[in-house]
């Protein structure tokens, strides 16, 4: 279990002392609705839901299985692929289509395809997302 290949630049050591215990944390990550992700902006959606697995900066992670890095990921070249994965999931990727509306899916896919060393500028549209819904 210790052989977790962490590509994250800094690993946080969470030893919590009472002194800084009740510093207010930011609400920018959402926590609005129980079954919907509320942020609308691609970066905020990524921070609220995607980075749980794909990690900050899209570096991915490896344990007994892995979460692929989204950074410099050539599988993102065709926008339809990440749209399908976000909506329907596959293997370790759970389907997230119920938590996000069409605009949010487009926003987060476009964010991932133009960040973390990716530069795919042919943005996916809300219509692309609608068409990919099962």
């Amino acid at each position: 279990m210790n052989r977790i290949i962490s590509l994250a630049a800094s690993a946080a050591v969470a030893v919590l002392a009472a002194s800084h215990a009740l510093a207010q944390s930011s609400d920018s990550t959402g926590f609005g609705d129980a079954v919907k992700i509320e942020p609308r902006d691609g970066a905020a959606i990524y921070a609220a839901i995607c980075q749980g697995c794909h990690m900050p900066e899209g570096v991915g992670a490896v344990g007994a299985g892995k979460y692929p890095a989204l950074a410099k990921n050539e599988n993102l070249e065709a926008g339809a692929y990440p749209v399908f994965m976000v909506i329907s999931g596959q293997k370790a990727m759970p389907p997230l289509g119920s938590y996000l509306d069409d605009e949010q899916v487009a926003a987060v896919v476009n964010y991932i395809r133009t960040h973390f060393g990716n530069n795919y500028t042919d943005a996916v549209t809300v219509e692309d997302v609608q068409a990919a819904r099962p």
Binding site: I4, A14, A18, L22, Y99
Partner: protein, 530 residues
């Protein structure tokens, strides 16, 4: 006259009928999903017949894997287990003070709980009808104690009701039942049920409603001894010349209905959560440790599976040391019981039928998060007289569970401060561990203001970041079950899957054990008849 309210609106009434129907509807939905079945466990498995030295390779030393090893070795199989972690138990897991947990992404947590205090990030309670788990606890000497699910003095809380002030469960429960009983008795007396209730039944029904709802002699739910014997008194009866008991004032019907707090009243009525629930003394992993004592010598720890191959004679598994890496090694056996979660197995090269492959690749794993919080004193007992049980809230932490053990102990205490699902679980998981703790503190402080002064330290587990599961449990839908469950639970050549995901009681230890017993039973049939 309706007590505590002027007139009941149609919307109120519909909401209430929804609640009355709610537990039945919820039960039906859960049965459809396979959640609420009674365990068909009928006692220790009997594997008759000689396996003639057949060997079985078991992948994963969680409960499913260790049950298989324990039972198969007993009847003469040669058994080896490969386990990714440095210890056994899988999701039957307890975090205690001194434990270090590193989640995916390299985020480290050092648990600083005091000695004897813990949280169970995975399973944390055992229904009385999970016969297999309980039988193994009995056979392996795992001591059990009551897990308090329902506590009438715990809280129901909504940020949007009663000005955000938490309400005692006994108040909401008594008043909801009382008002509903009064309404129904009124309708009954007015002849509103004459088409469905006979004259003979009518009197009995009225008597029943009076008794169930704590109504007075006029079938009204009002402040008085009847209602206070349910919800508690404003001044409790005392001794000697202490003040005379004073009944408490019920909350009005409209306030109860509009609060939405009734939505958590029925949880303890669900078959899965009915009293008596149980827990091992000292943490859930006492079950894992008991099995490990029996089969530990068969386990090769720190073994990361690379590939699983089979032909008509044997199964061959390649693995590497999960700590040191290095040259892959090989293990071979006649048969294989694979308990690796499909979230991980779907990423491992495996030779199985296309149907099994499709099942492996199409079972998503649910998001769930738990946060454990240590406080300097047990203020929930000292200040609020809450001994075990659960408070529910509509905030993202969803609940606070109080320890069901060591009441009145003078030292620190640990609460389960968050247990979240769905969108909130993803959002919690996406935060660094210490921020999850902060969030749980912020939400919990709205229910217990003592949080601010008494917090000591905390630990959190987001199941999608657990390196050896990548999620909490296999989330079957009715559709997915139709499509893939048959294949997933079939013996594929020489490989059988087992674990909570190969059961109709997903996420529960009982499901893992039953699936394992079912798999080895069928496999043994093949071995002795082949």
């Amino acid at each position: 006259m309706l007590s505590g309210t002027s007139q009941l609106s149609r919307r109120d009434l519909l909401a209430m009928i929804g609640t009355l129907a709610g537990s039945a509807a919820m039960y039906q939905a859960m049965t459809t999903l396979g959640f609420a079945e009674e365990s068909p466990y009928k006692g220790p498995i009997k594997l008759d017949g000689d396996p003639k030295g057949a060997s079985v390779l078991i992948l994963g030393a969680g409960l499913a894997g260790m049950v298989a090893a324990y039972e198969l070795a007993k009847v003469g199989y040669k058994v080896q287990i490969l386990e990714y972690r440095e210890k056994a138990g899988g999701r039957c897991w307890t975090i205690r003070g001194g434990d270090k947990y590193t989640e995916l992404g390299g985020f480290e947590q050092d648990c600083e709980f005091d000695e004897g205090l813990y949280i169970n990030p995975g399973p944390w309670r055992i229904p009385y009808h999970h016969h297999a788990v309980l039988d193994y606890c009995k056979r392996l000497g795992v001591k059990l104690e009551a897990f308090v699910q329902v506590n009438h003095n715990a809280y129901l809380h909504s940020a949007k009701a009663f000005g955000g002030k938490p309400q005692r469960y006994r108040h909401i429960n008594s008043d909801f039942n009382g008002h509903v009983a009064e309404l129904l008795s009124k309708v009954t007396k007015q002849g509103g049920l004459d088409q469905t209730v006979s004259t003979e039944d009518r009197e009995k029904l009225l008597e029943a409603l009076q008794s169930w709802g704590a109504l007075d002699e006029n079938y009204a739910y009002v402040a008085g001894d009847h209602s206070s014997e349910r919800r508690g008194f404003e001044v409790d009866p005392g001794g000697g010349q202490m003040p005379i008991a004073k009944p408490s004032q019920p909350i009005g019907l409209t306030d109860i209905v509009q609060s939405g707090l009734w939505s958590n009243l029925s949880i303890g009525n669900l078959y899965e959560y009915q009293t008596t629930m149980l827990q091992p003394v000292g943490g859930m992993d006492m079950i894992a440790k008991a099995f490990e004592r029996e089969v530990g010598e068969m386990i090769r720890y720190n073994s990361k599976i690379i590939s699983i191959d089979q032909d008509d004679k044997s199964v061959t598994v390649r693995y590497e040391d999960s700590q040191k890496g290095g040259e892959p090694q090989t293990a071979t056996a006649d048969w294989c019981i694979c308990t690796v979660p499909f979230s991980i197995l779907s990423q491992i090269e495996i030779k199985v039928s296309p149907e099994m492959k499709a099942a492996i690749e199409n079972l998503p794993y649910a998001a769930a998060v738990k946060v454990g919080l240590q406080f300097k004193r047990r203020f929930w007992e000292e200040d609020e007289h809450i001994y075990g049980g659960i408070s529910f809230t509509d905030l993202p932490n969803t609940l606070i569970s109080y320890p069901s053990t060591d009441y009145h102990s003078p030292g620190k205490g640990v609460l389960l401060g968050a247990y979240s699902w769905e969108a909130w679980a993803y959002e919690f998981t996406s935060l660094p561990p210490e921020q999850r703790v902060q969030k749980a503190l912020e939400y919990g402080a709205q229910i217990h203001p003592q949080y601010k002064d008494e917090f000591d330290n905390g630990v959190s587990v987001g199941w999608h970041r657990v390196p050896w599961t990548l999620g909490c449990y296999g989330e079957w839908t009715e559709e997915k079950r139709k499509e893939h469950y048959q294949a997933a639970s079939s013996i594929d050549g020489r490989i059988a899957m087992a674990g909570e995901h190969i059961s109709y009681i997903p996420a529960w230890m009982e499901g893992a054990i039953l699936s394992s017993l079912d798999a080895i039973g069928r496999l043994h049939q093949r071995v002795v008849s082949g």
